[in-house]
Symmetry: C2
């Protein structure tokens, strides 16, 4: 790429600043967001955990419910355990894994986790609620989609709710404020025979 | 969506488990990954922060260098400050914002931040290094791309390096192990006049 001159650069930066200030000035609404991280790429849960960290740093109380991964010991747990006043971490979904062949049990587990999410959404003490892998549960019809959408659509206005998992249902996307799709560009599992790495994937 | 029968479900789950086990069995390589989060969507930095949290939870030492956002007080900093033995957090890039109209100064700031990243990559004490918004700096030619790619391509084999920022250069994608593109599906800034929210974006 050809090097830009200082003058070019400064003119471009000044223009960007004007555009940026104009955008920020117009945006003054503060509200709790319904956020969805979906897609086949990585980073859906990680990005939600990053938001949890930021919320903790701002002194918000956060509720985290894991719908699927609860059976594993994950890297984030010992960190969140150091902030018991800010993070309530519920690794539900025990036994909800590839090994489970008991649909009735999975439904009961999903229901229990969803009841936790509902409680946290209703409780003003929580400023942010993360329903991790809820989309997976919806994908397998373990919870009635209508019920879930009704609760999320009617969440308190000042509360952030984050839902993760691939295959987010269209109804959820429709009511969400912010939807990001994580797209796989390159993946070492597939291309290089690399196993899941501590610190990256769990 | 039609409810699936238990038998359908169990058969599908059993099949998935076989496929899943086969994939995991074949993947035994442990190696440090060069990871890139790019795209116009949100979650690039958040997902990297989530990985930092997991790494901390596994007792790894992590170095974090912010190339652009250093001028802001961010939510993640007070959290990471609680783990001084595990996280070295360097909010460089002071003054590197839309306000900066001094290209020479920006280049100097980028160089200083890059020197930190190089030091952390070379030092075996760090198991993970996050170069946050490095792609932005490359986009504006503030650092020589060739130099950056050479350092990243020759990083120690057991070290994870994460690079974030939109417009990742193709050369970086070519040498990366894992590339995720965050795609914007819906964004409240644009559609609803909502301002940046604490806990979500900073």
């Amino acid at each position: 790429m050809a090097a830009r001159t200082d003058e070019d650069h400064n003119a471009k930066m000044a223009k960007l600043k004007v555009a940026h200030d104009r955008i920020v000035e117009g945006k003054t609404l503060e509200k709790g967001l319904l956020i969805v991280h979906t897609g086949k790429g990585k980073g859906k849960t990680s990005a939600a955990l990053g938001m949890v960290v930021r919320a903790i740093g701002h002194g918000m109380r956060v509720g985290v419910v894991q719908f699927v991964k609860g059976a594993w010991e994950t890297g984030e747990k010992p960190v969140f355990d150091r902030f018991p006043e800010f993070v309530e971490f519920k690794p539900m979904g025990e036994g909800f894994t590839w090994d489970t062949q008991d649909r009735a049990r999975d439904i009961a587990v999903a229901r229990e986790a969803w009841d936790e999410v509902k409680r946290m959404i209703a409780d003003p003490a929580y400023k942010m609620v993360l329903a991790d892998e809820l989309n997976i549960v919806l994908r397998y019809d373990y919870l009635p989609l209508d019920e879930v959408l009704e609760v999320l659509a009617n969440k308190p206005a000042d509360k952030h709710v984050i839902v993760t998992g691939r295959n987010a249902p269209q109804g959820l996307i429709d009511i969400a404020d912010l939807v990001t799709e994580m797209t796989l560009v390159k993946h070492p599992f597939r291309e290089q025979g690399v196993k899941a790495q501590a610190g990256i994937e769990y």
